[in-house]
Symmetry: D3
């Protein structure tokens, strides 16, 4: 029996993996792919406004709440392993040890592909920092001399998932994934994010409009393949294929 | 029995389809894909320096020679149909009738994918004009009201094949195709281009170095998949997929 | 009494002005701005798939239907003047006389600002051609020696309205306009487009998500100004201001 | 009585706020806007060549001189508050505490808009570092969980002021501000910079030529609005408006 | 005795060659280089506002005046040959015959380098059209089969000279030329342009500020080489050298 | 006797200077230019896969081997001074002291030009980090107040040499250098890199194909100057010249 496929999502904050690639996670999980999600932080300082408006709120309570939400969402999506690095946010900062931890995860998971943020984001320096570090750690994980004897990382694609304001980030999707079969799971995961209810419908609409783009790119005015929900991704690296 | 796949190559001059996507043609032809090649011109004025240096040369002789070379190359590659528009080159200019002819070909072929030049080329305005017209004709071929009753075109990918000086054209490959199995055919087709012998080894080296890129992108320092010859392509449109 | 403000929308096809800037039209009309809309074509060949699928359809019937829809939509939005150039679509082509006609309109309207398509669109060469011609005609309309004695055009901003797949067009909005007060009018105009019902909800969702961007850019996590529907625009030219 | 408007300038070196946005400062100060200027360094190492050529010069003397110049210039412009972080230059480096200090200033000032350097500058890494940190601190200042209980920052525009060689920095102004009414103040502030006299006339010419651009963009060949001195700015974020 | 060097300037309107590369012309003329200037139009419609405001003005009078000004300016600069194509402006349009005329000039001049406009200009479609046609004609002039027997064109660099609002055109200079020795000639040529007196000082300031850039790029804070007037150019093609 | 010219190469890993600018080094060394090479690391962890596959390999052995290879290659090329910073790779990290060391080297060498990596490289964060630090140190080395009394750095060009997959790095060469006269030395240096034998022929083919580009850019179809081996470079800064 061949090994299952594996994927690695690197999410700056606890909810990013839900909004931005929850469909991809659920879809691949259903196909038997083991999807590991790393949350570098819980988004406890900068993405938890609703919680902070409650009286008596503390950083620990916010983190606990966000962690619980992320775990429920991960369960809803069929995440194989949810790893919380708990590094703090706004600003997210990683020491060399933190980076080595991420390298360890990359080597342990040996992902067939990875997912993370866009490379530019003037609204959110945590997001672009995460992708920068992901690329740096991908290089380290490929180095034979880093922890010699370990199995080194291959050359997994890095897909950049959809940021909040795509055009401001210079993000251009080159891949649309039909997530219609798993939409209910993604919506369920979205609804785990109690603190950001204002985004539930926003990202539902995103999925619906990306489905329009899926259909259009799969067949234009001749029809195309119907899709009700989709996600878009931008590839960092070229693909290698045997057929166009 | 399902219909065979089809592809359409739109080549500004008679030899472009050989240097730039001869491997893709031969590979897909071997897989049963019917590849139609449109040569908008023979490159008779601007890509036939060697012929013009012969005494007594005429435009007709150059065109005849270039046509014969293109036909031999097409045969070597397994081209399904070679269509010469014979529109002249440097500058290549297309009337509305010429464009409608190309629309007719697109609709007749119903290609699963198309191949043409890069979108920018300061050295060669025929090349970028060809891609501009290809996109315009793709729009027309998709229009229900153009020759109503005909089967309209779907939304085939347009792959831009490798130009001569990639960086000057802003061309960035996102897809590497392993053409090792058909290299001998591509080299044979290349050698049909008697008038441009100085490019035979140039494009052989291109294929060898693209194979290095293929291998690196398929597995990095972990090995990757060995390839001896490859071609690179840049996609104009996003892909629609069911799995990443 | 000062002259009312004026605006000029240049729309490649009959429906573009509705989807892409219907809110801006209705909002400015309510403020007393006279908005002229030029439809260069009816989109009769390439944007009327549903009509062409009806038995016995002819080009004239499609044009009549599209014209009627555009007129109803214009009325719903409060368009001051709807001018149909009837030039045909896919491909849209303009002679020098057609361009001079557009120059005449620009000079007659003397718009405070203009609206048209994005500068790049690989899916739709009519769209980018329209913007190219708009810029060319703006230059001509500014020339003292073109029809000497006429009042020349000033330097109106050209806003590029939202294309269908923003990221593929390299379109980046720099201006979000709150259209909440006139949303019902825009929706009513949208529903005039009987032949493209599949886009009604798509562009409703676009407006809702742009409202999220409006709110976020007006105040971030501090709240921002609530908006339920918005439109985005990209400016071609710099603004000149007396206060930042 | 409503609160006055506020603005925050973040200047890598002591003189940048003078050359690059002195007009904007003086103009807004005259309108009652309270403009705070942060100088991260005095430019004591890298922008004080003339002083270092004097015999017996020391770092402290350079800093004292530059501080005095900056204070005189700030007074000439009507700066509300000049805050010297004194972090050193070439290279400018900021610890997390330094960044938190800047976050504190952002929250205390609650600026309606901010001004800082271009995002790219191969000649001057202090400049681009300043903008990178400004964006990072803007994110932190917006985070409810950073120093909970403080009033968080809204979403102020960040205008990038004019760098020394605009085209090399990829800087493209989208906003021209007429500073004619306050030109004398800007020139007076410029002349406070005794150590960089070679730039006095350079930046005077910049202001004069930007006035030409102001006039051209406000009316083209139809006249436009006369301006004798202007400044240009590039916006990082989209605007939110109720009228085009 | 070797042949003198030659250069070819292709100017959309009669005055462009003066403002944008008058210094380069005069400098090379003094070195014995034969500089041919092609004016595709006189700028009679769109760049002669002052003339058109005079009573009784006619197109012919404007053209005569502009021609005379251009001839005086050319004489002041030491132009070898001034060729007026008289094609009209705003919009400038070229037939295939017009283009062949330009090809003939290129082949006759055999320029060591060429100068023309920027590749993008939303304010002025004549300017970008000129560069597009220049590149197209360069290709044709290189084609052995175009007028066989003529000496074909080599591969001269195309320098794009400075447009009016550099950043809006995406123009980035990579070459600064010191024109101090010939400044008086350039100023004299500028003053031949009686109809555009408002630009005399504008372009003088441009030259002074480019001299600052020349000095800075030639030596930074270490001094650099003093220059009082300079011009900037962007190269389309790579250079080929024997020493860095 | 005038001072010899000097150049400074800043190489992230021990072999980069060989593949990417070995020809430039050898060519300038033959002309009497003193070329200093800084290797920030030996590439011991990430570019020594072949060594690590040997049994009993240790980091020190890899470094010793790589150092020896680099020294032999430097000798073959005629390097004036090879300075190993030995900072480690993947990731390469530099403290302020390390950067000051590089500043010291820049000031001591006083290079007429410098060579380093491309500014973007998603495959290799060491490479882009090296160029970022090089630009930062160039700024510091130009600062009069850094180690006052030392001779400051002028404004040397920074040429970015060819990365492994040029298009993925956004690298666009603007300068082709003919290295035919020193090819044997470059090939000899390449063959010193025993651990990366798979790249010997790759970079030989790169040099051959760049020679084709050299010839084409020096004369197009008219012939151009023959070259058998060349290298390409992208300039960061504009040139300052007295003749075009």
């Amino acid at each position: 029996m061949p090994s299952p496929r594996t994927a690695l999502v690197i999410s700056a904050h606890a909810a990013d993996f839900v909004w931005r690639c929850g469909g991809a996670i659920a879809l691949h999980a259903e196909m038997g792919c083991q999807v590991t999600v790393v949350c570098l932080s819980f988004g406890e300082r900068g993405e938890s406004a609703k919680l902070w408006k409650q009286p008596g709120m503390t950083l620990q309570k916010v983190k606990d709440t966000r962690r619980a939400e992320a775990e429920r969402a991960a369960a809803a999506l069929g995440v194989h392993d949810l790893i919380a690095f708990d590094l703090g946010d706004y600003p997210l900062e990683m020491t060399r040890d933190d980076k080595n931890h991420l390298v360890d995860v990359m080597r342990a998971v040996q992902p067939d592909f990875m997912l993370s943020h866009s490379q530019y984001d003037p609204y959110n320096s945590d997001h672009m920092y995460t992708t920068q570090v992901t690329l740096e750690c991908r290089s380290t994980a490929q180095a034979w001399g880093h922890n010699p004897g370990q199995k080194i990382l291959g050359a997994p694609q890095l897909y950049m998932f959809e940021p909040h304001q795509t055009e401001q980030m210079g993000w251009k999707p080159d891949t649309f994934l039909d997530i219609t079969p798993v939409w209910e799971k993604k919506r369920a995961a979205i609804e785990c994010m109690a603190g950001q209810e204002h985004l539930w419908d926003f990202y539902t609409r995103v999925a619906q409009n990306r489905a329009n783009h899926f259909q259009r790119n799969s067949g234009g005015q001749a029809g195309g393949r119907a899709s009700k929900y989709a996600e878009g991704f931008q590839s960092v690296f070229p693909r290698t294929v045997d057929v166009l």
